[in-house]
Amino acid sequence: MSVELDVFVGNTTIMDKEVYQLWLNGYTVNDAVKVRIEGGVMEECEASAEVLLSDTMDQYRTFQMCERLLHHPAKLANQLLFQIPPDRQAMLIERYYAFDDLFVREVLGKKLSKGTKKDLDDVSTKTGITLKSCRRQFDNFKRVFKVVEELKGPLVENIRQHFLLPDQLARDYAAIVFFANNRFETGKKKLQYLTFQDFAFCAGQLINNWTLGAVDNMMEDMDVDLDKEFLQDLKDLKILITDKDLLDQHKSLVCTALRGKTNVYNEMEANFKNLSRGLVNIAAKLINAKDVRDFFIDLVEKFIEPCRSDKWTSIDMNLYLTHYTNSAHILDTFKHHAVWTRYMGVIKSCILRLYHD
C-alpha cells in the first residue's frame, strides 16, 4: 500500500518560505521533514509526519518547476504557468540569489569555470554547505557573470535590472562579477581574516573609481574592466619613490603634520619610506594583469601587516593616509595630482576597511 501520486496545485501558487529555504539549502526531502518536525510546525497545526512529508514533497516539486524561471527572473513576471503575487516573486528571486558568505569567500576571485565547479565538493566539505546549495550559488554567480559580461553600462544597475535583485544584493553580485573578471586573489592565508563584505566594499570602490565607466559613462566600455589608461598613468607615480628629494620632502611634510597627534609617531617615521614604496609600487605594477590579481595580497603584505605589527589604531591609519595623500599635492615637482587623488582615494578607503583583526 502506498501513495503513488500526490499533488496539490493552487490557483495562486502556495509557497512556504521555510520550506523554500530548506530547498535552497540543499536539504533532501527527508532531511527537510526532520527539520520541520523539530521546528514544531506539527504541534502548531495538528499535522502528522505523513502530512508534512506530502507537503514538503509537493513544495519541492513546485520549486523545481519554478527553478528554470528563476534563472531568468524577468520571465517570472511574464510567465503564465504560476500565478504568484509580486511580493512573493520578489522573495523567491531574492532568496534564490542569496548566497552564503562562507561559500563566496571560497570562490571569490576564482575563474567561474567548469574546473572550479568540479572542486565544489571540497568547498562543500570545508564549509559544511550542501553540495547542491554550493552548485546553485556557483551557477548563480556564473549566470550573472555571463549576462553582464557583455553588457554596457553600470554594472550594479545592469544586474539589478536583469535579475530584479534588491540593491544590496545587486552590489554584492557586482563585486563577485568584478572579482571573477579580474581574478583577484582572495584565498591566500594572509587574506583569510577578511570577510566577503570587506572585499565587496573594496570592489565597490574600485568599480566606482577605477573602471572606465567611472569617468565617462558614455563610453562603450564596461564596468567590469579597470581603466587601462589610468593604470598606465599610475606608472608616473613612481617618481614619488624614485626621486630621493621628493621622497624626503614628502616624509617631512607628513611627519610635520602628524607630530604629537599620534602614539605611533616614531614607528611611522621609521617606516615611512617602506610604506610609501609599498603603496607606490602597487600602483606602478597594476598595469600587469598578474599584479592586479595580487592587489589585495600586496596591500596586506606591504602596508597593513607592517602597520599592524606596529600596533597602529584605525585612527592612526586614517590620520596617516589623509596626510600622506594631501601632502603629495604640496610637493612642487609632483605633477600627477589627478591620478594621485584617484588612486589614493580608493586605496585609503580600502585600507581603512581592510584594517581590522
Binding site: 499533488v7 490557483n11 509580486p86 553600462g153 559613462n217
Partner: protein, 1055 residues
C-alpha cells in the same frame, strides 16, 4: 452566410528553441477555421516573433461558428524537411456570438502541445461580425447564454424558469480507430481534443435550439460530461435548466445602493438578482414544541438493476393521482391546494420537471421532500456501425452520418433513469426535482448510470407568466411550451399566486414542511410540528442535493460529512459482471446512508445539503463516496443521540466495552455541539395544537410501490422506531461502523469545511481566496478484506483533508467551501481521489471564540493585501483608461516589479542611449500577467460580478513517454494541472475577464505505464468567465477623480 470571423496574429514570446544549430526558431502560424486555412509569414530566427499579420477573414455560417473552434497552430519553418509543429491553441468563439458577453478575444494565450505541454505564448486578436441581427436566432442558437452556475447568475433576474434541457452526441473515439495504430500519439491526441471541442460545440448549439424552442434565452446550471466508453465510443452529454433571464440594468450599483453592504435586501421582492453571499441568516426565536427523538427519516432511494439485455423491462405507469394537491389540503387550506394543483399541472406538462439549479430565487422553492436517486447498470455494446468499415478514411466531421442510431440507445438509457426519478419524486408527493445531476462510471464494458436530485414543490411564479412586463413579451413569442400549460388558470391565479404562497410559507422554515401526505408516507418517518412556525409538519431529518436556501434558519455552523465505502467483487465478464454489480449496489447505498446518518447524529445535526453520492466501479471493487454538508435546521427537531446495544449480553467485559463506546460517542456529540455552536433554544414543554402523532402512526399503511418499474427494489432504510438512534453491534460490521464513526478526526482549529456554496454562520469573508485541486492515487495490496479496504479508503480521504488543512494554514481562520471529491478506480488496485475546492478566509471578529489564535492575524492580512495588489495590476491592464484607482492601490504600484523597473528607468540619471542599450526585456515590454481568480463558487466574496463573458469549457490531453524525466507521475500531473489552470486563466483574460466562477474539473482521467515510462492524462474543466469589481472599489469610483491612472498602465496586455 451570417458571420464573419476575423483573426489577427500579433506576436509570440518564450517560444521553444527548434533549431539546435542557432538556438533559435523560424516560426510561422497557421490559422484554421472549418476547412479554411491562412498562414502568416515566417518570422526568422527569433524566440519572440512579431508577426503582426493582416486580419484573416473567414466567412462562415453561424452554425459553424457555434460548433467549430478557431484552431491556431504555431510551426517552425524548415527548408529541407517537414515543418515541425510547436503547438496549438484552440479558441472557443462562442462567447463572441452573444451580444451581452465578450466582444473581442485578445491577449497572450499559451501554445499547447499534448506531448510537451505549454511551449510559449501567442498574442492574438479575434472578432466576429454577425450580419443581420434579426435573422440571428433562426438557423443556429447563437445568442443563447450558457452558465455553469447553478443559480440565477448575479447580474441577471429570472423572468421565467422553463425547465430541463438535455442532449447528447455520440462519436467514435479517435483513440480506438484503426488509424490510431499508425499515427503518432500527438496526432491521436489532437484528433481527440479537436473532436471533443467539436462535439461540445454541437451539443451546446443543439441545447441552445431547445432553449429557443421553449422561449428561453439562457441555460443555467449547464453540466456537460464526457463518457469515454472505449471501443464503443465517446459520448458527450449535457443537461441544464432553460431560463429567460433579464440583465439587471441598475449597474453601476453604486448609484442605487451606495455603500450598502447587503444589496440583496431591497431587491428581494419580486426580483431575484444579486444574492449577497452571506446574507445574515435570520435565526429569529423559534418556538419549539418539545424535544423528541425519532427514528430516522429516510429519503427515498431506489435502485434499478438492469443490464442492457433487459432493456424492455421498463414499464412506467405514471401515477397522476399520487401526491396531488388534495392530500395536503387538510393542512394548507384550499388556496394552497389550488395553487399546488395549478403548479402541478404546469409541471406535469413537462416530460421531466427537473431543475439543475441548486439555489433558487426567493419564493420559488416551497417544500422539499428528500433525495431521490436512481442507478442503472448497463453493458456497453461493441456493435460497430456498419457504415464505419475499416476501409473508410477518417473524417472528423462525419459523425452525424454514421452514428445516427447511437445516441438513441444512450437517450433511452437516460430516459429510463429520468422516468424513475420522476416517479420517486411523485411518491414523495412532489412534482419537481431540483438540484438534479447525472453521472456515469465506466469500467471496461460495464457502465453505471446515476441520477439524483431533491424532490420538491415549486412555486408557479417563475413558471407561468411572471411580472407583467414579461407577459407582453411572451405573448409575442408563439412557442412557449409551458406558459400554455398555465394559461388556463392565469385569469384567477395570476396575481393571487404570489399572495397565496406568501401566506403559506413562513420564511426560514417553509421549505422543511413535508410535501407528502402524512398518513401515506412512502417510507417510515417521524413527523413533528415545525419548530419555527408550529403549524406544519416537518420530518426529523432532511437530506437534499441542493444548497442551503439563503432564507433558511440554521442553528450554529455546518460541516462536511462524508460516508466512504469499499466493496470487493469478483472479477467477471459481461452480463454476469453487470448482475453482480447491480446486486451489490443496494447494499452499498444502504451502508453509505447508514454512515451518513450516524455521522450526522454524531455531530448533533439534523439535515444534509449538497448531498452527492458517487459510486465508482472497478474490476474487483466498488467504491462509494457520499459527501454533504451537515447543518442543524432550526425548524427540525433536535436529533436524538446514538445508543449502542449489544446483541450478545451476559459477558461483563463486553458490556463494559459497550458502555465505554457509548460514553465515547456521547462525549463526541457534546464536543461537536460545542464546536459547531449548536445550542438550540431550550426546549419548552408545552402542548399546543394537535399532539405529536400517536403510536397509531407507526402502523400506518405502507404504500405499494408498484408505480416504479418492476425491478426497482425499495429498501426500508429506517433503523427501527425507537427514541434514540440505535446501533446494534452484533457483528463485525457494526463494530466497524462505530469505529469508522469515531475515527473521523475533527477539523483543526480555525478551519471549517463544507461542500455547499456557503457556510451557515460565517459572514464576514475577506477577499482572500485560494482555489486548488489536489489529486492522490493510492496503490492497494491484493487480497484485502472489505474492512481493510474501507479503512484504507477512509484514511485516504481523511489524510487528504488533513493535508489540505495544513497547506492552507496561513489562511486561518478559513473555510473550505465547495469541497468536491471525485473518486475513480483507474485500474485494478488503484484508487484515485481528486478534490477541487476553494479556501475563503474570514475575519474572526464576528465569529466569537478562537481567542487563542490572535497571533495568526498578520499573515492573513498579508494575503489580503497581496490580493489587492494583484487586483490593482489587473485593473490597470484590463481597463487602461478608466477608474477604480484607490489611493492605496497607487502606493502599491511601487512594489510591482515591472512598474518598478519602468519607473526606475525613468528615474535613472543615465542618458537615454545607455539605458536603451541594455539587452533587458525588450520583448517582454514590461507587462506583467493579469491576475485571474478561479473559484468553484458562483460568487467572489467582497466583490460584485458585473458581467458574464461566456462559458469556459476546455478539454486537454497530455501524454509523455519520458515520465521519469518529468518528475514521475506526480511531477507529470502537477505540471499538467498547473498548465490547465494557466490556460483557463489566459483564455479568461483574453475575453477581458478577471475571474472564473462555478469552476469545476469534471474529468481527470489519469493512466500510467511506469514500465514503459509513459503516462497520459485527460482533463476537462468548465466555468463561467466574469468581470468582477471589488465592492470597496465600486464605492471609491464614485468619489475618486480619475487622475494619475495612465502613468503605469503598460499596454502589453489587452492590445
Amino acid at each position: 452566410m451570417p458571420g464573419k470571423l476575423k483573426a489577427k496574429i500579433v506576436a509570440g514570446r518564450h517560444l521553444p528553441v527548434m533549431d539546435r544549430a542557432s538556438d533559435l526558431t523560424d516560426a510561422f502560424v497557421e490559422v484554421k477555421f472549418g476547412n479554411t486555412t491562412f498562414k502568416t509569414d515566417v518570422y526568422p530566427k527569433s524566440l519572440n516573433p512579431q508577426w503582426n499579420s493582416e486580419w484573416f477573414k473567414f466567412e462562415v455560417d453561424d452554425e459553424d461558428l457555434q460548433d467549430e473552434p478557431l484552431q491556431i497552430t504555431v510551426l517552425d519553418h524548415d527548408t529541407y524537411s517537414a515543418n515541425d509543429a510547436i503547438g496549438k491553441v484552440y479558441i472557443d468563439i462562442d462567447p463572441l456570438l452573444c451580444s451581452e458577453a465578450a466582444t473581442v478575444i485578445s491577449g497572450w494565450l499559451p501554445i499547447y502541445d499534448t506531448i510537451h505541454g505549454i511551449r510559449g505564448e501567442i498574442n492574438v486578436l479575434v472578432k466576429v461580425d454577425l450580419f443581420n441581427d434579426l435573422n440571428r436566432f433562426r438557423q443556429s442558437s447563437c445568442g443563447v447564454k450558457f452558465f455553469c452556475t447553478t443559480s440565477i447568475p448575479r447580474c441577471y433576474r429570472a423572468i421565467m424558469v422553463h425547465g430541463f434541457v438535455e442532449e447528447l452526441v455520440v462519436n467514435e473515439d479517435p483513440e480506438y480507430q484503426w488509424i490510431d495504430r499508425i499515427r503518432t500519439p500527438r496526432a491521436s491526441n489532437e484528433a481527440r481534443q479537436r473532436l471533443i471541442f467539436l462535439m461540445s460545440g454541437e451539443l451546446q448549439r443543439k441545447i441552445g435550439l431547445k432553449v429557443l424552442e421553449m422561449g428561453g434565452n439562457a441555460v443555467v446550471g449547464y453540466l456537460q460530461c464526457f463518457d469515454l466508453e472505449g471501443e464503443s465510443g465517446l459520448v458527450v452529454r449535457a443537461i441544464g435548466t432553460a431560463c429567460t433571464l433579464e440583465k439587471i440594468s441598475t449597474f453601476p450599483a453604486t448609484a442605487t445602493h451606495p455603500s450598502n453592504s447587503s444589496p440583496s435586501k431591497d431587491m428581494k421582492e419580486p426580483v431575484f438578482g444579486e444574492e449577497a453571499p452571506g446574507v445574515p441568516l435570520s435565526s429569529g426565536p423559534p418556538t419549539p414544541l418539545r424535544a423528541q427523538t425519532f427514528s430516522s427519516f429516510s429519503p427515498s432511494k431506489s435502485y434499478s438493476r438492469q443490464s442492457s439485455s433487459s432493456d424492455t423491462e421498463l414499464s412506467l405507469t405514471p401515477k397522476t393521482g399520487m401526491g396531488s394537491g388534495g392530500s395536503a389540503g387538510k393542512d394548507a387550506g384550499p388556496l394552497k391546494a389550488l395553487l399546488k394543483q395549478q403548479t402541478q399541472s404546469a409541471l406535469e406538462q413537462r416530460e421531466y420537471p427537473f431543475f439543475t439549479l441548486t439555489v433558487f430565487p426567493p419564493g420559488f422553492l416551497l417544500h422539499v421532500g428528500g433525495v431521490v436517486s436512481a442507478r442503472s447498470v448497463k453493458l456497453l455494446d461493441r456493435i460497430h456501425n456498419p457504415a464505419l468499415g475499416n476501409t473508410r478514411s477518417y473524417k472528423l466531421l462525419d459523425w452525424n452520418s454514421f452514428t445516427a442510431d447511437e445516441p438513441e440507445t444512450r437517450d433511452a438509457w437516460w430516459e429510463e433513469i429520468r422516468q424513475e426519478i420522476k416517479s420517486h419524486a411523485k411518491s414523495l408527493g412532489c412534482h419537481a426535482v431540483v438540484g438534479y445531476s447525472e453521472s456515469t462510471s465506466i469500467c471496461e464494458e460495464v457502465c453505471i448510470l446515476s441520477a439524483s436530485g431533491t424532490a420538491a414543490i415549486l412555486s408557479s411564479r417563475f413558471m407561468q407568466d411572471g411580472p407583467l412586463d414579461t407577459e407582453l413579451r411572451l405573448s409575442q413569442q408563439p412557442l412557449c411550451v409551458f406558459s400554455t400549460g398555465s394559461e388556463r388558470v392565469e385569469g384567477d391565479m395570476g396575481s393571487s399566486a404570489s399572495l397565496g404562497f406568501e401566506e403559506v410559507v413562513s420564511p426560514g422554515c417553509g421549505f422543511c414542511h413535508i410535501p407528502y401526505d402524512e398518513l401515506n408516507i412512502p417510507f417510515p418517518a417521524q413527523l413533528t410540528y415545525c419548530y419555527c412556525c408550529r403549524r406544519y409538519k416537518v420530518p426529523d431529518v432532511l437530506f437534499t442535493t441542493i444548497d442551503l436556501p439563503t432564507e433558511a434558519s440554521v442553528t450554529g455552523k455546518g460541516c462536511l460529512i462524508q460516508a466512504r465505502l469499499c466493496r470487493t467483487k469478483k472479477k467477471a465478464q459481461g452480463e454476469v459482471n453487470a448482475t453482480a454489480i447491480s446486486n451489490l449496489l443496494p447494499f452499498l447505498e444502504y451502508e453509505l446512508h447508514t454512515q451518513l446518518m450516524n455521522k450526522l447524529k454524531l455531530r448533533g445535526m439534523n439535515a444534509l445539503f449538497g448531498l452527492r453520492i458517487q459510486i465508482s466501479v472497478g474490476e474487483t471493487m466498488l467504491l462509494g463516496l457520499a459527501s454533504a454538508t451537515g447543518v442543524y435546521l432550526t425548524a427540525l427537531p433536535s436529533p436524538g443521540g446514538i445508543q449502542i446495544v449489544g446483541k450478545t449480553p451476559s459477558d461483563i467485559t463486553y458490556e463494559q466495552h459497550i458502555s465505554n463506546m457509548q460514553k465515547k460517542i456521547n462525549d463526541t456529540i457534546t464536543k461537536n455541539k460545542e464546536l459547531y455552536e449548536i445550542n438550540p433554544p431550550e426546549v419548552v414543554e408545552e402542548i399546543i395544537g394537535s399532539p405529536i402523532p400517536e403510536p397509531r402512526q407507526r402502523s400506518r399503511l405502507f404504500r405499494s410501490h408498484s408505480e416504479s418499474s418492476d425491478d426497482v427494489s425499495e429498501i426500508d432504510l429506517s433503523h427501527g422506531k425507537k427514541d434514540a438512534f440505535v446501533l446494534e453491534i452484533d457483528d463485525t460490521d457494526a463494530v466497524e461502523d462505530i469505529h469508522a464513526l469515531l475515527t473521523d478526526s475533527p477539523t483543526p482549529a480555525g478551519f471549517y469545511s463544507c461542500n455547499t456554496e456557503i457556510m451557515p454562520g460565517i459572514q464576514n469573508w475577506t477577499s482572500a481566496i485560494q482555489m486548488f485541486t489536489s489529486v492522490r492515487v493510492f496503490r492497494l495490496n491484493a487480497n484485502l478484506t472489505n474492512q481493510g479496504l474501507n479503512k484504507i479508503f477512509s484514511d485516504l480521504c481523511e489524510n487528504l483533508l488533513k493535508s489540505l488543512y495544513f497547506k492552507l494554514r496561513s489562511m486561518v481562520p478559513c473555510c473550505l467551501c465547495h469541497l468536491n471529491f471525485t473518486v475513480a478506480i483507474p485500474e485494478d488496485e488503484l484508487i484515485q481521489v481528486a478534490v477541487t475546492a476553494v479556501a475563503l478566509s474570514f475575519d474572526k471578529e464576528q465569529t466569537l471564540e478562537n481567542g487563542k489564535q490572535s497571533g495568526e492575524k498578520t499573515p492573513i492580512k498579508a494575503i489580503t493585501e497581496n490580493d489587492e495588489q494583484l487586483q490593482f495590476n489587473l485593473e490597470l491592464n484590463a481597463e487602461t483608461s478608466s477608474s477604480s484607482i484607490s489611493p492605496k492601490g497607487l502606493s502599491e504600484v511601487g512594489s510591482h516589479p515591472s512598474a518598478r523597473a519602468s519607473s526606475m528607468e525613468k528615474a535613472s540619471p543615465l542618458p537615454e542611449g545607455r539605458s536603451r542599450s541594455l539587452r533587458s526585456n525588450r520583448s517582454y515590454s514590461g507587462s506583467s500577467v493579469a491576475v485571474v481568480k478561479m473559484t468553484p463558487l458562483s460568487f467572489i466574496p467582497g466583490a460584485k460580478i458585473i458581467k458574464y463573458l461566456g462559458i469556459i469549457n476546455m478539454f486537454f490531453i497530455r501524454e509523455t513517454s519520458s515520465l521519469r524525466e518529468e518528475g514521475g507521475v506526480s511531477g507529470f500531473l502537477h505540471t499538467f494541472i498547473a498548465e490547465v489552470f494557466a490556460m483557463v486563466r489566459a483564455h479568461v483574460a483574453a475575453l477581458g475577464g478577471n475571474a472564473v466562477v462555478s469552476y469545476s474539473m469534471k474529468e481527470c482521467v489519469f493512466m500510467e505505464n511506469p514500465n514503459k515510462n509513459q503516462a497520459q492524462c485527460l482533463i476537462n474543466v468548465s466555468g463561467d468567465a466574469v468581470i468582477f469589481v471589488r465592492e470597496s472599489e465600486l464605492e471609491l469610483t464614485s468619489v475618486q477623480p480619475q487622475s494619475a491612472t495612465t502613468q503605469t498602465s503598460n499596454g502589453g496586455e489587452g492590445t
